[in-house]
Each structure stands twice: as structure tokens, then as C-alpha cells.
């Protein structure tokens, strides 16, 4: 009791002035202060940008980037119009040929235009989510099993500990080779490049999720385990009723960590392997080297950051939804 109150007093002494009174205070804290921060950042950015000369012209300021956002969006719309026109032309031509010769079987060729910025965003998002979900499917059962069994844990732990610190990018060449060796169907459902990126994401998510799940499961209050024993819950029901809910906060902490890292790693992997996605967009623009390139890369950087933020918030919201212990979700 004594120590806590002393600590609290100490903490209080170091606390910054807080605006914690009333509606006005919270409005200032939630809206005004973030706005001030953003404005200050924009100001600093535009002032600094003007003073940096690169071989591709001046470093882009906020205005240039905003302009590129607009350009990227209209490019996307133009590309969509082109695509539609392409398919319409094909249909017209096919209809004509069928009219001339009824035995002709119409074929539709896919549009092969360059992916737009928006397409790349969608590709990256789909890739990160599929890799992440694959990791969840593998890691959560594995983590539960290792958390429940000390024997299994002793066997699996060294492997996890060794692979955990490996940058998933180191796996990338191996993944690429293995995928092209094993994935040889003549009519692929998904592209090889997609598989490469996805598996890299999975490898990156796997370890923190296994570890967090196992720690969560192993750390269940022994009294709760005793309750289960007294009730003679069968193994599966024990997992379903006690183990899983008890470790949900830890499992989700692992998921949030992994998803954050996965998003960063994916962009790097796409740059490195030239796999479709935001990373490729950044790399292509860099190679392109036009006077707009830097502004377009900066636009991509902002989008990457914003999406990463949204992914984290999404996981947090989900954690709060399914978790009984909201103190873990912060």
C-alpha cells in the first residue's frame, strides 16, 4: 500500500500539465492539439523541402505531393476507362464475328495495362491480409499446443527462437525458388509473385504469434485450470471454454505486433522482388526518375503510413470486441 502511494506521488510530480477537465479540455486534446502537430509538421516539411536540391529537382513539398495524389487518382480513372473501352471493343468485334460465322467461339483477352497506384494499394492489402491469415491459421493452434504441453514446447521453442530474429527478407530468395519449383500448374489461380510475397508475410507473422499464443496459454491462472479439472472438462472443451478465451488478449497482442511488422516487410519485399504492390510502385517511380517521381514516392509513403495506422486500429478494435480483458488493448 505504502509503496504504491509513494510511486503514485512520484509519478504525479513528473506529470506534464494535463488538460483533463471537461468537454473543452477533451476537445482541445483530441482535435486541436493533433491539428497543431500536423500543421507544424507540414510547415517544417515545406520549408525544408525548398532547401533540398536533388538530381530530380527540388524535394517535393506538401503542395507537390497533393498534386500527385490528384494525378495518381485521375491516372487510375483514365486507366479504368481504357480498360472498359478495351472490353467493349472486344465484345463488339466478337459479336460481329459470331454474326458472320456462327461456329466461331468468342474469346475474351484480359486487359494488360499497367497497374495504377490504387491497384497496387489493393494488391498490397490483399497480400498482407492473406499472408497474415495463413499465419493465424498455423500459429494459433501451434501456439496453443506448445503452451499446453511442456514437452512440445521444449521441442518447438529452439526452432522458433532461432527463426524469430531472421528478417523475412532473407527468406525471400528461398521462397521464390521453392515457389517456382513447386508451383507449376499450367493454369495458376494466383500469380507466383503473389505467393512469394504472401509466404514472406506469413513467415514474418508466424513467430511472434506462436510465441505470444504459447506464453498466453502457459500463463493461464492455475486456479482456472483447476476449475476445469474439477469439472472434468474434456480436452477439446477445455481449450474452447478455458484456454482460448483466457489467452485471447495475448493472442491478439501477438497478432497486432505481427501485422504491423508484416506491413513494413511486405513493402520491402515488393521492392526487392519487383512483386506487384506498393513497394513495386515506389521502386518503379525511383527507377523512372521523372521530375514527379519524388512527389509520387512521397505520396506512396504517406499512404503506406496511413494504411499501417488503419490496420493497427482495426486490430485494436477487433481485440476490444472479442477480449474480456480490455486492459491489454491499449
Amino acid at each position: 500500500m505504502n509503496t504504491t502511494s509513494v510511486n503514485a506521488g512520484k509519478l504525479y510530480g513528473f506529470r506534464l500539465p494535463q488538460l483533463d477537465s471537461g468537454l473543452v479540455g477533451s476537445a482541445i486534446r483530441l482535435v486541436a492539439l493533433p491539428l497543431v502537430g500536423i500543421l507544424a509538421f507540414l510547415l517544417l516539411w515545406s520549408v525544408t523541402a525548398q532547401n533540398i536540391d536533388t538530381s530530380l529537382g527540388k524535394f517535393p513539398g506538401p503542395a507537390a505531393v497533393l498534386e500527385q495524389f490528384d494525378a495518381l487518382y485521375s491516372e487510375h480513372q483514365r486507366s479504368r476507362e481504357k480498360e472498359q473501352a478495351f472490353y467493349e471493343r472486344q465484345e463488339e468485334r466478337n459479336a460481329k464475328r459470331v454474326a458472320e460465322d456462327p461456329s466461331y467461339e468468342p474469346r475474351i483477352r484480359a486487359y494488360t495495362g499497367k497497374e495504377t497506384f490504387i491497384d497496387q494499394i489493393v494488391t498490397s492489402l490483399v497480400t498482407v491480409m492473406s499472408g497474415f491469415l495463413l499465419a493465424v491459421v498455423i500459429a494459433v493452434p501451434l501456439g496453443i499446443a506448445t503452451g499446453l504441453s511442456k514437452t512440445l514446447n521444449s521441442a518447438v521453442n529452439p526452432i522458433v527462437q532461432i527463426f524469430k530474429p531472421v528478417s523475412p527478407l532473407a527468406w525471400l530468395p528461398l521462397v521464390t525458388m521453392v515457389v517456382s519449383a513447386l508451383y507449376t500448374t499450367p493454369d495458376p489461380i494466383v500469380a507466383k509473385s503473389f505467393l512469394n510475397s504472401m509466404i514472406t508475410v506469413t513467415l514474418c507473422c508466424l513467430w511472434p504469434m506462436v510465441i505470444n499464443t504459447a506464453v498466453g496459454v502457459a500463463g493461464i491462472d492455475s486456479d482456472l485450470v483447476n476449475v476445469s479439472k474439477v469439472l472434468r472438462l474434456p480436452a477439446l472443451r477445455h481449450v474452447q471454454k478455458i484456454v482460448l478465451p483466457a489467452s485471447v488478449p495475448m493472442i491478439f497482442t501477438g497478432m497486432r505486433l505481427s501485422l504491423g511488422v508484416a506491413w513494413m516487410v511486405l513493402i520491402a519485399a515488393e521492392m526487392l522482388a519487383q512483386n506487384p504492390g506498393l513497394g513495386k510502385f515506389v521502386w518503379d517511380e525511383f527507377q523512372n526518375g521523372s521530375s514527379d517521381s519524388l512527389a509520387r514516392i512521397m505520396a506512396a509513403v504517406l499512404v503506406i503510413g496511413f494504411i499501417g495506422f488503419l490496420l493497427d486500429r482495426g486490430m485494436l478494435a477487433m481485440q476490444k470486441l472479442v477480449s474480456w480483458d480490455n486492459s491489454a488493448a491499449q
Binding site: V230, L231, R232, A246
Partner: protein
């Protein structure tokens, strides 16, 4: 009355790096149907170990526990446990916590409607009907313990095992809970084994008080039969000479054992494998000393 539970010459040893540590030696106790027995003794003397052996959570090294003519080899709902810190599943409501137990025990023999009724009945018994749909985090410590008791009662156990059920509660709530427990016991005639540190609680509730010597190699020191009329009322008992005699006897036992331990405590015995909560023990010990 017939013997329901026979705790037969139990020894309990725990392996430690420095060789086996003997927690219990030759604990022998026969309990009859409908009897309320408390185990009292100093911290670390192995009271919880006895309870855990009866519950089936520990296996005795020698000797065994026989319930209704059958040996206890594993935990089971016929020996329901009320844990010291309630042990409710925090993600379930009070109703769902009891439901988990009822479904497990009566899932095959009762219909859905009957189960619902039975759950509600048990929550009513502990006066928790009003908070059925609250989660443990939303109710007070006393209320949580009530739900814990309701969950145990709902299993219709042959023996109800209570590990310092009221140890973590404040004095007022504790008194309230003791009264409730007496009421329930009078109604259902449960067989109960309760661990306690609290002398008043032991005398008030028990038919017999089993006083344990200090560990290691703890065993039963004395057994005191409490022959006070039921129903018992704490206020009337305060002036009852017999009640005060019983109280004095237990206090004397505890005090003597405390100042002159039977066996000198060895270094290896310092690590108590016993699952008692240190904080609660400390507070309780102070209380016993104050009373003495």
C-alpha cells in the same frame, strides 16, 4: 451416521532439488455425511495440501482418500471446490459461470429448461439473482465469492471443499457470507471441509475443528468437537461461555504451536510447495495473533 469420506493415513511428499520435502505425515480423518469440518493451522502447515488431495488435484504419496467406498484418483464435480480467490472465468457472466458447471454435470440428465431453473435456483440460494448477467469484473469480491459458492453447490457435490473462501473479504462481508453459508448448510445438509485461519469462523461454522501442527511433516494435532446448538447466531454466541471456551482452546493450540514448533524448520523446508497466498496468510496470521 455413516462415514462418507475417509482420509486414510495420508503422506504427501513433494520433490525438490534437495530431495523430497514431506508436507504431510499420516493425516487421518473420517468425516460423516452432513458434517461441517474446518481445518485450522498456521500458514504453510499443509491445510491446502490436504484439501487438494481430497479434491484429487494432488495424489497422496502414501495412503488415500475414500469417498463413499470409492478411492479418489482424480478431480471431479462430486468434490466441488470453492477457491480462495473465487476463480470465476472473467469472460463469462455469473449465470454462464454456473451454467458451465451445470452443463458439464447435468448436461445429459436434465433438460434445458430444468438446467436453467437449477442455475437460477443456485444463484438465488446465494442471493445473486439480481446480478446474474454481470461479469466478475463488474461485481464486488463478496459477490464473486457467492457466485463461486453457487457454482460449487450447483454441481450437487457429495463433499464441498472450501479453501479459505472468505479470507480475501473484509470483516463485514465475511460475517455476512458466514451467515449465508450456515443458512445454506442448514437447508441442504452439505458435507463441508473448510480451510480457515479465522478462529471465530471455525467455531461459529464447524461441527468439528481439526487443528493441524506446523509443517514440515504436518499432521492432525487435535480435533475439537463443537457442540453448540444450531442455528447459531454470532451475537448470542458472543456471551456464551461454551463458545468462548472453544475459542480459547483453538487459540491456545495455535499459540502454543506457533511459539514452539514441533519440528525445527530446516532450510529446505522454506520453499513451501503449498499453494497458499502469502499476502492473505500474513494478514490472517496477524489477526490470529491479535486475538491471542
Amino acid at each position: 451416521m455413516s462415514v462418507l469420506l475417509d482420509i486414510s493415513h495420508i503422506d504427501m511428499e513433494f520433490p525438490t532439488p534437495k530431495g523430497p520435502f514431506t508436507a504431510l505425515r499420516d493425516v487421518d480423518l473420517k468425516i460423516q455425511q452432513g458434517e461441517f469440518v474446518s481445518l485450522i493451522g498456521h500458514s504453510g502447515c499443509g491445510k491446502s495440501t490436504v484439501l487438494n488431495v481430497v479434491a484429487g488435484l494432488y495424489q497422496a504419496t502414501r495412503g488415500g482418500v475414500i469417498l463413499n467406498g470409492k478411492e479418489v484418483t482424480e478431480p471431479g464435480p462430486e468434490r466441488a471446490v470453492v477457491f480462495q480467490n473465487h476463480s470465476l472465468l472473467p469472460w463469462l457472466t455469473a449465470y454462464e459461470n454456473v451454467e458451465l458447471a451445470v452443463k458439464q454435470v447435468f448436461g445429459k440428465s436434465k433438460s434445458k429448461a430444468e438446467m436453467r431453473q437449477w442455475i437460477e435456483h443456485n444463484l438465488e440460494l446465494v442471493h445473486m439473482s439480481h446480478a446474474m448477467n454481470k461479469r466478475p469484473g463488474e461485481i464486488s469480491g463478496g459477490m464473486k465469492q457467492r457466485v463461486g459458492i453457487a457454482r460449487a453447490l450447483a454441481m450437487q457435490p457429495k463433499v464441498l471443499l472450501m479453501d479459505e473462501p472468505f479470507g480475501a473479504l473484509d470483516a463485514l462481508t465475511r460475517a455476512h457470507m458466514q451467515d449465508s453459508l450456515m443458512e445454506i448448510q442448514a437447508e441442504l445438509n452439505n458435507t463441508v471441509i473448510m480451510i480457515t485461519h479465522d478462529v471465530d469462523e471455525a467455531v461459529l461454522l464447524s461441527d468439528r475443528i481439526v487443528m493441524m501442527t506446523n509443517g514440515p511433516a504436518a499432521t492432525i494435532g487435535e480435533i475439537l468437537s463443537v457442540e453448540l446448538e444450531r442455528p447459531r447466531h454470532r451475537l448470542e454466541l458472543a456471551d456464551n461461555p461454551l463458545y468462548n471456551q472453544y475459542r480459547a482452546k483453538v487459540l491456545k493450540f495455535l499459540h502454543e504451536r506457533h511459539s514452539k514448533p514441533d519440528v525445527p524448520v530446516k532450510k529446505s523446508a522454506q520453499s513451501k510447495p503449498d499453494m497458499e497466498k502469502a499476502g492473505a496468510d500474513h494478514a490472517q496470521k496477524e489477526m490470529v495473533e491479535d486475538a491471542a
